[in-house]
Point group: C3
Chain length 353, copies 3
């Protein structure tokens, strides 16, 4: 089954210490509690189930044995990534480190398309533009990135403010004032006026907007990352017809699926949930597909760093979508699986254009 | 198994274009996104599974074939409705269009009881009463409707304000002021003082109050439609012993089930969720029945317009309740299914009185 | 399988009227609605399934037969409790009535460890200390209880204010003012400054802090008992390394599990959900174990009064954990089950120290 990874980050292909490996298995930035371990989790089991065979081991081989095998194979990272069998990857380029995009593409044997992280682009623009020039400079920079081939943008407003944003486009004077204050402060970009300005500039550009929603690292307040907070923004942008893709969504994925039914331009993406919940993704995917029409749900892994995450995501998804649609006539199940696995992403991100 | 549809709207029995058929398959008022279709969803699959056989086709017959067959049978609508095998229907008469209640009853081969939509009755009263007379006129009009046979009332406060209402009964002077302001404004009835006044007038009348909660059309802000917002109102009305029926509830049905356990006069109704989630209603119904005692959950379809929705609801429910109770001794499963399917509704709405 | 009940209350070992028995089967303090019964629920079915055999009856024996048998056996209570096969019990001593702790230990054939309820200890201290001495007296009293062997503390801030508390430690002058005002008022301890003071005093003591979260009796507003409200408190206390155990959590257990992954000192406990949801605990436990590492989830029953609740909890848990881990290699499943059943609690509460 063709699987297109519609939201991920770049990979680290080199060898990893056990400690570094474990750190990639959580959204927590801190060491584990005494007596606990991050890979001793649904994610760790999923790695053992889906990745051990790609390194020549039995499914569920113990982690120590897996790590040993991984160390002994110089090309383990590339082998795992290639085993995912992806047809394309959409990569949020807003995180630093890891392989360059052409290295990633070569290792994955698949084309890579970039996604512009709005907040990071704003920071790079701010270094040269003052408050009064910020709006125009950001708009120009975003247009340039999209002209250069980026297929979508991504917002991490959930990490900087919460999704409970005023949905309206801020006025030019407001933006100048907010940009001035931000540039003077030297702080992280978190002002809601600026976050809204980035979003509305993206709306003007007409490309799909990916939103981090639901669980993530501790920068995000979970209660304010519920995608249902975006309902007013969905309403305000409907007539612009720019696709809004709600990423992750869990544990609010039923809410996201409802928005995806209600608003023609809204989509739900299963990334991050697919890797972290492992075997339980059977249940989570089924919940995504309760209210959302089948044309509105997209596969992604949200993999970052660990090559295992690309492979776990793709294989767990292939397994779970078959499970979720098992009660359907075979041709029908195959057709719907194809939409969620790749077809919807091709259409929404205009990848065949 | 006797199934009593404890909350629905009236039906459209005539032929439908494909476009109109698809529009009945969503809560969205807008055309679908390019490349997507509303019936390509759990609801559409459920229609193919449960309704195709009622038109002489195989389960899961393709939609085009189904539509063809539907067009070729002049009595398709009545046939589908009758196939639901309902023992009675409680109809919210607040939506316009469709079959008259006696036509609906004839086609369904079952008695129909009406449910008064509070906000609509208020509008009809306001046309003749001024602000100072509004309270009394509304109270008289509601009493008249109940005397004429209506078995319950329904509130759509979730669509007009949200369920985060002050639970207290508003004072008479407040109501006059709010009614005056509303009548002068010419706007939709959305003032929370008036919405509360309608509810407390209904409490005084002693009949069950149905509340829209959970997902619905875009008029409702999902976050403010969580039935947990009604907890203070449940507390404030407990001693009045008027049944409060939380409709739909999804995706907050576990919250609704908890209220139904906690407050003696609170009930949870599975309507809308049963049709929209289709085969996944197995899981959703199981969640309703985690905390709610078996005497506190009611079947309904929330069907509107499309005859298929009455049939999908009834058949999916019959299927799912058996699945959910499969681990019980057969006599026990049958008894509990009978409560949720019809017995609880008969008792709560006093249908045998 | 060793099962350690890491949060419960004391038991009533004597005979019970049918009415009293039914009252123990709900969190509602009110009589059931006409035509309904609290044991006619998932909990009642679980009692019939798991407890009837302990009294020599068939699984699912009718409740009337079960009650008859219970009345005929003078030692029914102790027999049920012993049948739970618990290896230890952690008992919140904040509720009055029932067996003394040594009686409970004797009947359970297991050691009992006490847990101090912060709000109750504060009330007992306030009787002798004035506002200005409250802070010090409370601190001394808590230290004395922990020195005397209590292994943890418990907060019911969710019942008194909600979990949406300012996470910061209140200043000494604030505490004096709040204590004065509370003592003069003669009211229940609900002031958020005082509730926060109790929590930070507990943090200073270094023992695990159990929090009531999620569903409970009507004193708690469900919306404000979502454990996600505790995220700022989790962040503020992280460096103190004092374990925070989120009790119950349902229906927000996926949120709790996320906090348990993210913050090294946060844990999720399945109590109350395990008894109330009965056979459905298979699904609920699986949801707990989606995001939480296996070292972060703890078994408890939250049983109170009814001996059946200790037994239902333990047996349903043994059944459900096997079900949830059925897809794993047997040794792995056994190891993980052992952590959740007892190992994690031994480590977090330092029971082997």
């Amino acid at each position: 089954m063709e699987v297109l990874d519609a939201h991920c980050h770049t990979v680290e292909l080199g060898p990893l210490t056990d400690e570094r490996f474990a750190a990639w298995c959580t959204e927590s930035p801190w060491p584990p509690a005494p007596g606990t371990s991050f890979p001793d989790s649904r994610l760790g089991l999923a790695i053992r189930r889906w990745c051990a065979p790609a390194l020549g081991l039995s499914p569920f081989a113990p982690l120590a044995e897996y790590a040993e095998s991984r160390r002994s194979l110089p090309d383990a990272g590339a082998r795992l990534l290639a085993a995912a069998g992806l047809s394309a990857l959409l990569v949020d380029t807003g995180l630093t480190g890891g392989a360059a995009l052409d290295e990633l593409a070569a290792a994955a044997h698949a084309p890579v398309h970039s996604v512009v992280r709005l907040e990071q682009l704003a920071v790079s623009v701010a270094e040269t533009a003052g408050g009064s020039g910020f709006g125009r400079s950001f708009s120009d920079a975003l247009a340039a990135q999209l002209d250069a081939g980026a297929v979508a943008v991504k917002s991490i407003a959930a990490y900087r403010h919460g999704l409970d944003l005023d949905p309206e486009r801020p006025g030019p004077a407001e933006v100048v004032r907010a940009a001035d204050a931000w540039l003077r402060s030297g702080e992280r970009l978190a002002d809601p006026v600026l976050l809204r300005h980035l979003l509305w500039t993206a709306v003007d550009c007409g490309r799909p907007i990916q939103f981090h929603t639901g669980f993530g690292d501790p920068d995000a307040a979970l209660l304010r990352a519920d995608p249902a907070h975006l309902q007013p923004f969905c309403a305000a942008t409907r007539s612009a017809r720019v696709p809004i893709v709600l990423l992750h969504c869990y544990p609010y994925h039923r809410q996201a699926a409802w928005l995806a039914q209600l608003y023609p331009h809204v989509y739900a993406d299963v990334g991050l949930a697919v890797t972290y919940t492992g075997a339980r993704f059977d249940a989570v995917l089924a919940e995504f597909l309760e209210l959302a029409p089948f044309g509105k749900v997209l596969y992604s892994s949200d993999a970052y760093g660990l090559p295992e995450l690309y492979l776990v995501g793709a294989q767990q998804f292939r397994h779970s979508i078959r499970h979720v649609l098992a009660d359907l006539p075979p041709g029908e199940a195959e057709r719907i699986a194809g939409l969620v696995a790749a077809g919807n992403a091709r259409r929404v991100y205009a990848l065949d254009a």
